[in-house]
């Protein structure tokens, strides 16, 4: 869940400041020409090979003043993790699993025991060799109650920490409590970075991992620096160092980029006005992370009138996702059609009911909610919440649904509004494996089940999918699960949005998808 919150605890002032910056910026940069057409946003970052060496400067929003480098913690300083550590498995650009510290993995015929073959000749930054003991310790650390890791909720029902097996230094055996054919995908989460055996107490400060960079300095919610680890098993990274700076305010971050003080804005989805100013600058430009975020209008299925499945269906049929994409995203994304599984996921299905306001009206009448009126809560937490809400309001009008958009305070939005109000706006980062997505956000009783949806049929399909070894059959079952979410679930998913990332024109080799960031290949040209 911090994935939704990773885009930062932005200040309440963000929206106002950003638009002021944008206004001031375009006024300056267009030289008072005023009516000139807004510059078109570039589709991708500059191509070409970077020069070797150099220091990349990244501005990031701090997680909290209590940040830590412990990857398992809910307050981990996200940007450092991929630079300092490796996981057993990661997600490749095609959405499939790819090896990281585990070279290969296999399961028995019932998907109950998983065996991971670990890479040899890998050393931690302190010189110690990486072995299966470290991998097993990492899992036990995540499951330890004292760590309070968000990923514990996902792994605890599957793993008994006492039963982890390490038959030799490069083999890890994980027996599961219940069958799960997608188990390795759960280890791609950013809480699952591998830490050295016995390091629980110190890892938050030392940051000792096997990653491409080693820690030089770190201050919670402050500046820090990592330097290239020449002995990294996959080769030395292009850069000599990365300097991290924490800048809480979004407009301050873009100002730093425009002034040439930093090269990359991490976890910052620029609003369109700011993005245009950045793209028009000589120093900086925009890179897009395709379909990086999925936006949701969750309906609490435990609150009236959403307890009635017909009302939920009507709410979905009533609006046109294409309209929302056009209005709220200005086209920079794709329509979701209420399916949270992104098209980049191999299990994604394309089938969905058509936009049908007449049918929506009919269903509402049947349910006794003709001319339904609802409050829809948004905030300035993300620049797209309010445009999305307004686009929905506009689109749903045709089905006679009257939506009142209410703006709540951004800094308490996720404690006061989310999962409390019957209808509100939220978003998640894509890049979650399909089983994790469904288990965390849609399964009965899960702590992040934001619609409080509880459906026995759906849970059963999920269980069957997990136990299914045959890849094709399993994908079919995950397809069935998607159909259930679309037809009966409480989440409206109007759109997948590209993330607009501000980067310096000197940056080369920038690649990011889901929670994966290429720290090895990124570099600078002419730095």
């Amino acid at each position: 869940m911090s994935d939704i919150h990773h885009p930062g605890r932005r200040s309440v002032l963000t929206a106002g400041l950003a638009s002021a910056a944008a206004l001031g910026g375009s006024w300056l940069l267009t030289g008072c020409a005023g009516a000139e057409a807004a510059p078109v946003l570039p589709a991708a970052a500059a191509k070409g090979a970077p020069d070797r060496g150099g220091t990349l400067r990244i501005a990031r929003p701090p997680a909290s003043d209590a940040e830590t480098l412990d990857p398992a913690s809910s307050l981990s300083a996200y940007e450092y993790l991929g630079a300092l550590y490796n996981r057993l498995v990661r997600i490749g650009p095609d959405g499939d699993l790819a090896p990281d510290l585990a070279e290969s993995w296999e399961t028995d015929a019932k998907a109950r025991t998983w065996t991971f073959r670990l890479r040899k000749g890998v050393a931690f930054h302190n010189g110690r060799a990486f072995t299966s003991a470290d991998a097993a310790y990492t899992l036990r650390h995540i499951l330890d109650k004292a760590t309070a890791s968000p990923q514990a909720a996902v792994l605890a029902p599957l793993i008994d920490p006492a039963k982890l097996g390490t038959p030799d230094a490069h083999t890890l055996v994980v027996p599961l409590k219940t069958p799960n054919a997608e188990f390795p995908s759960l280890l791609t989460h950013y809480n699952c970075y591998v830490i050295p055996d016995g390091s629980a107490k110190s890892i938050g400060r030392t940051g000792i991992g096997t990653g491409p960079f080693k820690l030089e300095s770190f201050a919670p919610a402050g500046p820090g620096r990592v330097t290239a680890y020449a002995d990294h098993w996959a080769g030395r990274p292009v850069l000599d160092a990365i300097a991290f700076y924490s800048v809480a305010d979004m407009s301050a971050r873009s100002n730093a980029l425009l002034a040439g003080q930093v090269d990359l804005l991490s976890q910052t989805n620029l609003d369109f006005a700011t993005a245009r100013v950045v793209a028009a600058s000589d120093r900086a430009t925009i890179a897009r992370v395709k379909n990086a975020q999925w936006y949701v209008l969750p309906m609490l299925t435990t609150e009236k009138p959403f307890t009635d499945v017909r009302v939920r269906q009507a709410m979905k049929l009533a609006y046109d996702p294409e309209h929302v994409v056009k209005v709220a995203l200005q086209g920079a994304g794709t329509a979701g059609w209420d399916n949270p599984v992104p098209s980049s996921d191999p299990a994604h299905i394309t089938a969905h009911p058509k936009h049908d306001p007449e049918q929506a009206k009919y269903l509402l009448k049947q349910a006794g909610h003709e001319g339904l009126a609802m409050d829809l809560y948004t905030s300035s937490y993300d620049p797209l919440f309010t445009p999305m809400a307004l686009a929905y309001q506009d689109s749903a009008k045709r089905a006679g649904i009257r939506i009142k958009v209410k703006t709540a305070s951004a800094d308490s939005y996720y404690t006061q509004i989310w999962m409390k109000k019957p209808l509100m706006a939220t978003y998640w980062f894509t890049g979650r494996p399909v089983d994790q997505l469904f288990t965390q956000i849609f399964r009965s009783g899960s702590s992040y089940n934001e619609t409080a949806w509880s459906d026995k049929e759906f849970d059963a399909v999920l269980d069957r999918a997990r136990a299914e070894i045959d890849d094709t059959k399993r994908r079919e079952l995950y397809g069935e699960a998607q159909t259930l979410v679309i037809e009966k679930g409480g989440a409206m998913t109007p759109m997948f949005a590209d993330r607009l990332v501000g980067i310096s024109r000197k940056v080369r080799g920038y690649a990011e998808h889901g929670f994966e960031f290429d720290y090895l290949g990124i570099g600078l040209k002419g730095a």
Partner: protein
């Protein structure tokens, strides 16, 4: 005179006591739970409950108020709920950084605006007055974050003379912060100066119309001498209060500007503490701001009395 001073100080202490209660109540009324806010939304309900107990959030409010005020009187503001460090030390570190901006702002704003105000007053209804008055009216009406943003776009983005944001943490040295203080100081000075300019202008006009100025002129003194020896001291008196209030605003109200520049000062600490629901830190900052307000006002009152013969003798004639 002594009784006036005593009464004035007693009133100040009373004001501080009242503000401590208000601060405490206001912080209690913040929406959102401290424990959830600290642990992040990933926290389990068990962890939240344990933390609430550890933070003594389950004790009644009045008990916590007495604890807090008692500690504050001894300079102990408790420990930060987020970083676990002593609030007093943290706050003074950030406060020191803000003081750097404040000193430069006051120097800019006070000297500059008094000179401009006097010029405007002396050239009343002529072009220098029109120019100065219009500019100060604009400065007064535009919010400080717009001024700050425009300054950044002009002097960091278009002309790369000053840094746009501070990339250092709160423990930065004065040398590291120095290049970055000019734009925030200028932004604050613009907003702050506007009030002082208008006040100084009005007082100069009033004083220049009095009989003793006319007499001084009739005696054949040069305009320059009339202004510096006779008009200025009287004209400055009413301005003092405006300056005092503005200095107080400076300490309490820099949050927005510090945020624009990512400046590690008290305003930024205040914002992040509010977002993290770090109650002891918020309370300490609010109380310190109240102290600054009260002390600035007190100082202005006492200074006014010291400079104004009529007020000075009031106690005796009665």
């Amino acid at each position: 005179m002594l009784s006036f001073i005593t009464r004035r100080i007693a009133a100040a202490v009373g004001t501080l006591f009242l503000s401590s209660i208000l601060v405490f109540l206001a912080v209690q009324a913040l929406p959102g739970d401290v424990a959830t806010q600290i642990l992040g939304k990933d926290a389990t309900p068990d962890a939240v409950a344990a933390l609430r107990e550890k933070l003594k959030l389950d004790k009644p409010a009045w008990e916590r108020y007495v604890d807090w005020v008692g500690g504050a009187l001894h300079g102990d503001f408790g420990t930060s709920l987020v970083s676990g460090k002593a609030v007093g030390g943290e706050v003074s570190m950030y406060l020191g950084n803000s003081a750097l901006i404040a000193v430069i702002t006051v120097l800019f704003a006070v000297t500059g605006s008094i000179v401009l105000g006097i010029l405007a007053g002396l050239y009343r209804d002529r072009w220098p007055d029109h120019l100065i008055s219009t500019v100060s009216l604009v400065g007064m009406s535009v919010p400080e974050f717009v001024v700050a943003t425009v300054l950044v776009l002009c002097f960091s983005v278009a002309l790369p003379w000053f840094p746009a944001v501070v990339l250092y943490g709160p423990d930065a040295t004065v040398g590291q912060l120095l290049p970055a203080v000019w734009l925030p100081a200028l932004a604050l000075a613009v907003v702050m100066a506007a009030y002082i300019v208008r006040m100084a202008r009005t007082s100069v006009i009033d004083v220049m119309a009095t009989e003793y100025v006319t007499t001084a002129r009739l005696k054949g003194l040069s305009t320059w001498r009339v202004v510096t020896r006779h008009a200025l001291p009287s004209a400055l008196l009413p301005t003092l209060h405006v300056i005092a209030l503005n200095v107080a605003w400076l300490v309490g109200g820099v949050a927005v500007v510090e945020n624009v520049f990512n400046y590690p000062g008290i305003g930024k600490l205040m914002l992040s503490s509010v977002q993290n629901r770090d109650l002891p830190t918020i309370q300490a900052i609010a109380l310190i701001s109240a102290v600054v307000y009260v002390v600035c006002n007190l100082a202005a009152d006492l200074a006014t009395m010291a400079l104004n013969p009529r007020l000075r003798t009031r106690g005796r004639t009665r």
